[in-house]
């Protein structure tokens, strides 16, 4: 449904459109100003950052980015983030996609129980899982390893994968794999060679959405990593511990570098954003 643009006279419609634009521009300024300002800070020298009144016109410098990218801390954390996020997504996809297919297609005992469990996993507060998880992992000698973070991340990426993929599988017509079964293909073969290739856009979308969640996580990584295995959000939070210090250029440049990949990813998956947000509550 689109808004009632046919209501009222021509003149009142023009006034209406004008005020809508005015409101939209004002809102865009409010919502994007903080971000634009931060990006601006990241392109300033230290003198310009702390100048009062603020410098509005300046020759941008990339020295902050150069400093961040040449520091071992940032690159190590970037690598850790990349490894744990892709590890968690890969694991959740391998485990969750067949399950989503089974849930979408076959009735079996315990289906609603499994479904309820996945919903609970997605909805319950992560700190509640983290407390016992930390204890069990530390007794197993797993804390501060990247494996522990990957396992912890499946608590949110697995339900996301199953929820969204189930929707994609349900939208796929049954006849395709049924004809493969008739031709003598096993269930597993029909799933691998007929269904999966057809569902590829869904796989890509759910990959991006869960990658984004894993990239953004702070709580699990904060507890389960040390200085060698910490991820980018943990590094960012360490910057802000207590005083904000004086290296605003380095901090803002790091921040921009952390959010750049997720923003690009989000735009790539924009069409599927709603499915990801509501995780099955609203159908695509």
């Amino acid at each position: 449904m689109t808004a009632p643009s046919r209501v009222g006279s021509r003149r009142s419609r023009l006034v209406f459109a004008g005020s809508v634009y005015a409101a939209l521009i004002a809102l865009t300024v409010v919502f994007l100003f903080p971000l634009v300002w931060i990006i601006g800070l990241s392109l300033k020298t230290r003198l310009e950052i702390f100048a009062m009144p603020p410098v509005l016109v300046w020759w941008p410098t990339f020295e902050n980015y150069a400093a961040v990218l040449s520091s071992g801390d940032f690159l190590a954390a970037f690598w850790n983030s990349l490894v744990v996020a892709s590890g968690a997504v890969l694991l959740s996809m391998c485990v969750g996609v067949p399950a989503a297919y089974a849930i979408a297609r076959f009735p079996f005992r315990g289906r609603s129980l499994l479904f309820f469990g996945l919903l609970a996993m997605r909805m319950l507060p992560p700190i509640a899982v983290l407390v016992p998880m930390y204890i069990l992992f530390s007794k197993l000698g797993l804390t501060t390893t990247r494996l522990s973070v990957v396992l912890a991340y499946t608590t949110f990426s697995l339900p996301l994968v199953v929820w969204i993929m189930r929707g994609f599988f349900e939208d796929l017509p049954r006849e395709l794999e049924e004809s493969a079964w008739v031709d003598g293909a096993s269930r597993a073969a029909a799933f691998t060679y007929v269904v999966l290739p057809l569902i590829r856009p869904g796989l890509v979308a759910v990959c991006i959405l869960s990658l984004q969640l894993a990239w953004n996580d702070f709580l699990f990584a904060a507890v389960l990593t040390n200085n060698a295995t910490r991820t980018l959000p943990v590094l960012m939070a360490a910057f802000s511990g207590g005083d904000t210090g004086v290296d605003w250029g380095g901090m803002t440049a790091s921040g921009v570098l952390v959010i750049l990949p997720v923003v690009i990813f989000s735009f790539a998956a924009q069409r599927h954003l709603v499915a990801g947000l509501s995780s099955g509550a609203v159908k695509g």
Binding site: M1, T2, A3, P4, R6, V7, L27, T28, F31, P34, L35, W37, I38, L41, P53, V95, P98, A99, Y101, A102, P107, F108, L114, G117, L119, A120, M121, M123, P125, I127, A128, V129, V131, P132, M133, Y134, I135, L151, L158, V162, S186, R187, N216, F218, L219, L232, P233, M236, A237, F239, S240, W248, M251, G255, V258, I259, V263, L277, A281, V282
Partner: protein, 288 residues
């Protein structure tokens, strides 16, 4: 063999998910339920604690910091969800109007929700800095937003609104786009004003989407942690001590893990109540 595989296909397909779910979710939660009735310290063996009955729970309920954090969490959740819904609905309605360039605004206005929460909170910490921040400069004052008990929670809530109102807007905009256009056109022909159309047609049709957004946001605000950790760490003077923060500090700073387990289980029970409500509402929607 292959016939057996086919007959067991569904079971085999869900087996890894079930196992992983029990390992990373079921088992830890059962253990923390057990732990919450124990006196336990990290140097003891897993089951080497001492049974203390409901002591941990009693300690929590008599701890002013915990009781305070209950009030702060519920208040924070209620206020942030209400403002996010109101702002998100307004945004969605504006973005739903078909005008040239509207897609540009649709894209620009959802950027805040994509940003890593820790980074967003961190950027706002710089913007709100009393000495060098742009906010205090623009309003010409010297307010220590995050350092005063009376402004800290409000500041955190406003930053949260900035980040999550677009989230609600995306959900509700999707709802608006999927509504049938006939009722609105019919009302327009009958001479209804924009306000009447909105109030009597759009809003009732949109209600299921609003309910979903309401419940999702409630569940996510109830567990709020990242933004508060970065901006205030629960301070000043416990003014922003939400339940997640309290549980985190008890478990991982004071290392009283059995108390942390009890606090987590109280959080779990409260969010389970929210989940039950969530499922009930969706069931009712599907039945309609």
């Amino acid at each position: 063999m292959s016939a057996w595989l086919d007959s067991q296909f569904a079971r085999l397909a869900v087996l890894p998910t079930t196992v992983l779910m029990l390992l990373v979710f079921g088992l830890p939660l059962l253990f923390s339920l057990y732990l919450s009735f124990q006196g336990w310290s990290p140097d003891q063996a897993l089951f080497g604690g001492r049974f203390t009955g409901t002591d941990n729970y009693q300690d929590l309920l008599t701890d002013p910091a915990f009781v305070g954090s209950l009030g702060i969490t519920f208040g924070y959740t209620a206020v942030t969800v209400a403002t996010e819904l109101a702002a998100g609905l307004g945004l969605a309605l504006l973005l739903n109007i078909d005008l040239p360039w509207i897609n540009l605004f649709r894209t620009a206005l959802i950027i805040p929700m994509m940003i890593t929460p820790v980074v967003a909170a961190f950027c706002w910490k710089l913007l709100l800095d009393p000495d060098h921040g742009i906010v205090d400069y623009l309003i010409g004052s010297h307010i220590i937003w995050l350092g005063r008990p009376d402004t800290a929670l409000v500041s955190v809530a406003v930053v949260n609104l900035w980040q999550n109102a677009p989230y609600v807007a995306v959900l509700l905009l999707a709802g608006l786009r999927s509504l049938p256009s006939e009722p609105v056109e019919a009302a327009a022909i009958d001479g209804a004003s924009r306000l009447q159309v909105f109030w009597h047609i759009t809003l009732p049709l949109l209600r299921p989407y609003i309910v979903v957004a309401l419940l999702l946001r409630t569940i996510f605000e109830f567990r709020a942690f990242d933004n508060i950790y970065v901006m205030t760490s629960g301070g000043p003077a416990d003014a922003t001590m939400v339940l997640s923060m309290f549980t985190y500090l008890a478990s991982f700073v004071r290392f009283d893990l059995s108390l942390g387990a009890a606090a987590s289980w109280m959080m779990l029970l409260m969010s389970m109540a929210l989940c039950v409500l969530f499922i009930a509402v969706i069931r009712r929607r599907e039945a309609l």
